[in-house]
């Protein structure tokens, strides 16, 4: 029964969870690893997940914790930078689309703000659910979202989108 329920849930949610992890900042390969690890943790205690009042919020909480732990362990030696020191090839992508701009803008957000944006506008969690997932007060969720939206509004990559409906 548990196994069937878990299978159904994962089959339905796997793509969205992986893409959530990508939006949080994982590479696609890392995202699949993180989500797989998170789902293993969930399956270990699936009856508790089933009994949770909000299953999606529960799974997202495990996902965020797994992602955070993975980031603590992993040190790639890379440092994000806004500008490359030199151009090694002509830019063939001058006609960047809105999604490119959004991706770059996400990269410039801090971890907390980026997580807040993804949980609210991609995972569609309510502020109350986010407070539970992130283990912070609802007011903290509001302020993180507010600062994130202000940063996105000021982001030069999204300049063309200002005033968009």
């Amino acid at each position: 029964m548990d196994e069937d329920d878990f299978t159904t849930y994962v089959a339905a949610q796997w793509p969205r969870l992986v893409r959530s992890a990508v939006l949080l900042g994982c590479s696609p390969v890392e995202a699949e690893d993180v989500v797989q690890s998170a789902l293993e943790r969930c399956l270990l205690h699936w009856r508790r997940v089933r009994a949770a009042s909000d299953r999606d919020a529960y799974v997202h909480r495990v996902l965020i914790n797994t992602f955070t732990s993975a980031r603590r362990r992993r040190w790639t030696g890379e440092r994000p930078t806004a500008d490359l020191s030199e151009a090694v090839a002509p830019d063939e992508t001058s006609h960047v689309d809105d999604a490119d701009a959004m991706e770059r803008a996400l990269d410039r957000l801090g971890r907390d703000q980026r997580t807040a944006v993804v949980l609210r506008y991609y995972a569609h969690l309510t502020e109350e659910q986010m407070a539970t997932v992130l283990g912070v007060a609802r007011g903290t969720v509001k302020s993180r979202l507010g600062r994130a939206l202000a940063a996105l509004a000021e982001d030069p990559a999204l300049g063309d989108l200002r005033g968009a409906p």
């Binding site: 299978t7 994962v10 089959a11 796997w14 793509p15 992986v18 893409r19 959530s20 990508v22 939006l23 696609p28 995202a31 699949e32 797989q36 690890s37 789902l39 293993e40 399956l43 270990l44 205690h45 009856r47 508790r48 089933r50 009994a51 949770a52 009042s53 909000d54 919020a57 529960y58 909480r61 809105d98 999604a99 959004m102 991706e103 996400l106 944006v117 993804v118 506008y121 991609y122 569609h124 407070a131 539970t132 997932v133 992130l134 283990g135 912070v136 939206l149 996105l152 509004a153 999204l158 989108l161 200002r162 968009a164 409906p165």
Partner: protein, 200 residues
């Protein structure tokens, strides 16, 4: 930029990632591996945990709970052990020792609140200092079986409370002696040691 527009942009970014089918077999394999690892670590580390708990919690040092060497010609497997006396679970208990799955002791308080649990008429409730858990149980002899699901509230707590509820999943039996009441796993290892509030 409206909320809807932001959602639309995130959807478009997300859709760029090709996602294959869910690796269900690998996830199940990973769970089996985690369970095996927890079992091995639990077995290897529990000696140290029990020693630590014995020092920290005198009630665990009760001679009745100490391991006794097997008699010649007998084994320690539950199958051939003489039947244990019936135990009772009734009323409220405080947690005086909690053993992590890796065998190490875990705190028994969170934010100055003692972990505790209660058993009454087949209903179990527990509090880890942050969230509440409730469910049904069946006690047959010394065998404790959680009936259905143990549901808990989901208050986010930073830092996280002790792994009390996680460990309850491993409990399969109950033992009792003068030192207290013990919830044990399938290998007879103590997971939680309980005592009546008035005994502490």
């Amino acid at each position: 930029m409206t909320d809807h527009h932001l959602t639309d942009l995130l959807e478009r970014v997300a859709e760029r990632t090709d996602v294959g089918p869910a690796p269900l077999a690998a996830i199940r394999q990973g769970v089996r591996r985690r369970r095996r690892r927890n079992g091995v670590l639990g077995g290897a580390g529990l000696t140290a945990a029990v020693v630590a708990a014995t020092i920290a919690v005198p009630v665990l040092s009760n001679p009745g709970r100490e391991a006794t060497p097997p008699r010649p010609g007998t084994t320690q497997t539950p199958v051939v052990s003489p039947p244990a006396p019936e135990v009772r679970l009734d009323g409220t208990y405080i947690v005086i020792a909690l053993v992590r799955s890796n065998g190490r002791p875990a705190p028994t308080t969170y934010e100055h609140t003692r972990l505790h649990m209660s058993f009454r008429d087949g209903t179990v409730r527990a509090f880890d200092g942050c969230n509440e858990l409730s469910g049904r149980y069946v006690l047959q002899g010394t065998h404790l079986h959680w009936k259905g699901y143990l549901g808990s509230t989901l208050v986010g707590c930073i830092p996280g409370p002790p792994p009390f509820f996680d460990r309850l999943d491993d409990v399969t039996s109950v033992a009792h002696d003068q030192g207290g009441t013990y919830l044990e796993d399938a290998n007879g290892k103590v997971v939680v040691a309980l005592a009546r509030p008035d005994r502490r």
